[in-house]
Amino acid sequence: MSYKFHQFQVVGRGLPTETDEHPKIYRMKLWATNEVRAKSKFWYFLRKLKKVKKSNGQMLAINEIFEKNPTTIKNYGIWLRYQSRTGYHNMYKEYRDTTLNGGIEQMYTEMASRHRVRHHCIQVIKTATIPAKLCKRESTKQFHNSKIKFPLVFKKVRPPTRKLKTTYKASRPNLFV
């Protein structure tokens, strides 16, 4: 499963000067499509928090963070700040997924579809793995059922490879499962 957004840990600090031999080191975890963008994002956020820029700072480390248990399902809570046409808003969203990157990708696509917010207008404040008891949204809570059971209502008939796709079919498909 390849995800568009990767999680990076970026560590950086201001350059040492005569007055400050050992400047404080800052570490951030953020999501970006690649390392270059992650570094840029790091300086963007750090500029807003501390008096340091890329020109008088240095990058110490950048590592990609991978999911520890991609085979278990988790409930992710994501706190975000986004810019709409009229101003900035905070939001809390929940997603069920196997990996945090998958949850973040769901978040970006959902924000784009539901609120028309492009990904550069979204800032992820915090993410957390939420235990089932503390989930707030009904749409995630409805899957917290150990005896979950539902039928697949429509059967979409698909050719098994894209190559066998045809524009015209001889007869109407039968959607009955």
């Binding site: 499963m1 085979t71 069920r96 997924d97 196997t98 059971k149 209502v153 698909r158 098994p160 499962v177």
Partner: protein
């Protein structure tokens, strides 16, 4: 017409698209409305969209998200492989695979066998025709 095949923990499904095409997998948990956590003895447990799965009639008795050993043991206990291969759907798939993997000599042998079979059938038909007309 109520539904007979449900998405549930332990349902066996056939993968009908993608890299694992043709494999039998067990639905081990449901992620959300469109995806299930799916497992098979020879693959890493992963997520799969329901659009890639066709549910079968076979269901095994497992708890939500068992570990690999328990899963394999449950599959053996329910004898899924034999049940599948003796079901009409399973048999059809086996025949399809066999037909796709024939070489020219096999096809020649099949042609001879078909001719022989048709000859025997026609003889019997001629016999029956004679009995009814005479």
């Amino acid at each position: 017409m109520p539904f007979k095949r449900y998405v549930e923990v332990g349902r066996i499904a056939l993968v009908n698209y993608g890299k694992d095409y043709g494999k039998l997998v067990v639905i081990v948990d449901v992620i959300d409305q469109n995806r299930a956590l799916v497992d098979a003895p020879d693959m890493v447990r992963g997520q799969m969209n329901f659009k890639r799965l066709t549910l079968t009639d076979i269901k095994i008795d497992i708890k939500r998200v068992p570990n690999k050993k328990t899963l394999i043991a449950a599959l053996e206990a329910a004898d899924v492989k034999n049940k599948w291969e003796s079901s009409s759907w399973g048999r059809k798939l086996i025949v399809q695979k066999k037909r796709a993997s024939l070489n020219d000599f096999d096809r020649f042998k099949i042609m001879l066998a078909k001719i022989k079979k048709a000859g025997v059938v026609r003889q019997e038909l001629a016999k029956l025709k004679k009995e009814t007309t005479c």
